[in-house]
Symmetry: C2
Subunit: 612 residues, 2 copies
Amino acid sequence: MYRLRTLLLGSPLPTAGLSHEKLGKFKGLATFSPDALSSIAYANQEIFLGLAVAGSAGLGYTFTLGLIITAILIVVAISYLQTIHEYPSGAGSYIVAKANLGDFPGLVAAAALMMDYLLVAAVSLTAGVEALASAFPVIWPYRIAIALLLLAFITILNMRGLQETGAVMSIPVYFFIGSFLIMIIFGLFRLFTSAPIPFPTTMPGPVQPLSIFILLRAFASGSTALTGVEAISNGVPAFKKPESKNAGITLIVMSILMGFLFLSTLGLSKYFGIVAVADETILSALSRQLFDNSILYYVIQISTLAMLAVAANTAFADFPRIAAILAGDRYLPSQLKALGDRLVFANGNLLLAAATAVLIIIFRGDSHSLIPLFAIGAFLAFTLSQAGMVRHWIRKKTKGWRTKAFINGLGTFTTGTVVVIVGVGKFIQGAWITLIIIPLTIWLFLVIHRHYEKIAQQLSLKGLPPELKPYPKLRFVMPISGVHRGIFHAVDFARSISKNLIAIYVEVEPGTGEKVRKKWEEWFPDIALKIVPSPYRSIIGPFIDFLDRYDVEANDGQLAGVILPEFVTEGFWSNILHNQLAWLIKFALLYRRRKKGYQQVIVDVPFHLRED
Amino acid sequence: MYRLRTLLLGSPLPTAGLSHEKLGKFKGLATFSPDALSSIAYANQEIFLGLAVAGSAGLGYTFTLGLIITAILIVVAISYLQTIHEYPSGAGSYIVAKANLGDFPGLVAAAALMMDYLLVAAVSLTAGVEALASAFPVIWPYRIAIALLLLAFITILNMRGLQETGAVMSIPVYFFIGSFLIMIIFGLFRLFTSAPIPFPTTMPGPVQPLSIFILLRAFASGSTALTGVEAISNGVPAFKKPESKNAGITLIVMSILMGFLFLSTLGLSKYFGIVAVADETILSALSRQLFDNSILYYVIQISTLAMLAVAANTAFADFPRIAAILAGDRYLPSQLKALGDRLVFANGNLLLAAATAVLIIIFRGDSHSLIPLFAIGAFLAFTLSQAGMVRHWIRKKTKGWRTKAFINGLGTFTTGTVVVIVGVGKFIQGAWITLIIIPLTIWLFLVIHRHYEKIAQQLSLKGLPPELKPYPKLRFVMPISGVHRGIFHAVDFARSISKNLIAIYVEVEPGTGEKVRKKWEEWFPDIALKIVPSPYRSIIGPFIDFLDRYDVEANDGQLAGVILPEFVTEGFWSNILHNQLAWLIKFALLYRRRKKGYQQVIVDVPFHLRED
């Protein structure tokens, strides 16, 4: 086990090895943009699928929707620029919403963000595998298995820790940007040299008349393009000094790139009359149209997969971090904030991997059916974060606060509207799942928080007198399975700490008790032995009952201590050959025998058996 | 959990409730014959399938093979009659072989029998489902699932205990016997009133020339008809007095019934030229031929399924019993001999159920592919048991011992020959699996036995002086996670039993140690606190290392005792919210910290947290 672990994850790293490498703009863009940029791989697809139900009349609106979404991108980007400059030490939605709006809105933002990261991982992986399967149709039926393999790979990579691979990650990102820019330039050249191709007039499936609702639904799906824009604001402290300035410039560059890639691929697809068909993505169809089946086509598909895998990786960087922050604030189990052997939040990683695997399997590796769950989380977090900023400006009233509050207010309004459109437009297709899971998550946060607060209260030293009364001499009870060498040390130790000791034998097989008593009296004539019959052959029940009766009889204000002689075999597995009674008894003592205000003591005296 | 269990299995029964109801011949036949009688459902099938590869020339030998197998049945039955009279207190193969031939042959017989019971369960269930699916072809693709459901049902029934249902069991058995006798009488009537139908001259699949090897293979498969004949000899003590006489008469009746059912169904199938086809069993084809698709046909199929289910149930009665006997002799884990809540060997039941489920799944619910594994076990046990009887007579030399030894000798020779024929003839088809598993099982028996013997030796009181030296005062070490209310009782108890106490804090986050020390010195200035740094953030490792160093330094010939303050939350599940450090530490102490000849003491002082 240990060797396999070391092979997969590498050997443990010392705490002192925590790297504090800071990112420049070049590496910063590679680190924080994949989530946003790669979304063109599924957002375009969704816009086309959404509009295609209204035939070529619907598809005529692709570019218009693209322009609207780009406009929102600009609003959101400017809005976040202000946030970055105001919170240089980390501008994540949870922190901003909590600081300005209060704990509860903060938790809503956190739940929304966690849901969003989970979906980033699931959607990116499935969309990436779809890009690959468009190029190599033979693997189309195996998308689930391939997505899970990729997930396992990314999980292991993240469990090892990605510190040394920061530079390596830049390669697929700039490879993606480069290859798409080439495709777009080539496409624009073709655009100026050839006539537009109209959308086919016949569509697969029945065509509905174009309606506002269809447009809104297509918009709701397409708005997934904007998820990931907040990534930079979460990571401001990771930038080189001056952090806010560098992060801001990176955000501007990313937004421009994003808008350009999104609009031009949409426009080219429309110009060349590309329609999504079964077993092929829109981007694949576009690049196939432009490059035929030349090697460049395959380059585009593979760079898409690589970029989407890196985007899924973003979720692995961010989800465990926000889980750790929440665990630190006592809203999630404290295990989530423990740094693992490799200096990563290993438990958060595993939690995300498991949840992503479940999503991929439930939704059969189909990014299209995952999309309706997506976007709500991201836009909810956007809205709360922007609203927090509005409150921030109103409170602070620094120079120019009215303009700034207006900009963030516009952001709040825009992203809030998107939340409503997505929630309503995609409600039946799956948004309801998100709208159930987010409140459930918040409820879980609160339950956990209340638990920890109660515990903290009970552990507090406040009001405790510095001197406690001397510990009273305890009565001890020792359960025995027979008279053999295994109990001698236990009897011996018990004698050394208390004069008040009795042994107890639970008689499962009628008649054995007398045999045990005879042997016992031969060896320990000075210690009383109680034989307790067990008509139902259980050992634990009669033993606990005996202890309760004994405590009531003694009536000395304490629970009898228990001395457990325990066999331990040398190899762990050979314990299967013995009844694990000592563990069961201890378990029963801890969970079944508790009396308010009484103190328990359980003494294990192991008897180590040898195999040689 | 507990409620579900009570609902499924009923409430616990007292040991005094162990029923000692004795069986008469009528109930005795119903109890012990299903395994044998039901085997015509698959043995016939196997003979036809085995011979069909040689076309109609091969099929001509069906009745001849049937006669040979019936002759063996007679030899085995007479042989067992003698055993029954000689061992009225139980004449199972394990007991007889062990008593007369020694421990090792006894273990071979036991391993063979256990393998055989396992296959009885798997083959009966799959063959039963095949009988049903022959009548209702729509369920043919779901055979595995149905067989597993049936298995679950039988398992639950047996976990409840079958004591009260003994009489109920007679119904399917006599229903089966009755309906088959009607079918056979009807068939004989048809036989006298219509001409024989020849086998079709064209067979599905290529036809091979008839060879001795084909005949031997068909014989090997058909000999599965004889498994289950030993059932009565295992259960002699269950009969009313005089046990041997009643058991003997039941054995004779069963053998005659068996021979009659077997030969007449074989003969009728041959006379009417029945050939096995895909998706239908031979018996189904025969009764369909006789009864057309009338209600009687369905009666036959359902009675076959019911009988096979009862036969599978036999395995559930016998497998756990022999496992318990072996556990009593220390050849299997002692858990297998514990009577469960419902006075049944629950662990043996579960073991059999799990193994049967695995077999059904691996062999895709196909009785035909399970058959080659079958029969070897039964015949190996027969051979050893008969050989034991020969030895018994030679030793005892009672009146007429020569004749008796000859009869058992003939039995030994016959069944031994069948073992060789099955082992060789079906080796490639699956007998090799049995021939690997049986030795592996014996090896397991021996390893387990050696383990228990070593343990018994170490626990023995032989040579132990009656007085031990007084227990030396122990040094105690108490690991703490911080200074809070949870550790006060532990400190208090530790002070009350030892003057030599130190606390230890493993510092995972650099800097926390000093804070803890300040608080510690405020509350417990008289007790030393050691702060142990942990560069790799593990707690267990540095703690165990510290203990080792401390023991070496002290050099007082003992291991330091450990006092573990332990949080226990009220509900079991809320423990997930806390690191389960106390359990992990205890585990590490028991398995990683052991020194030959040294004694350990571990004291748990639980601190019970409330949720209210």
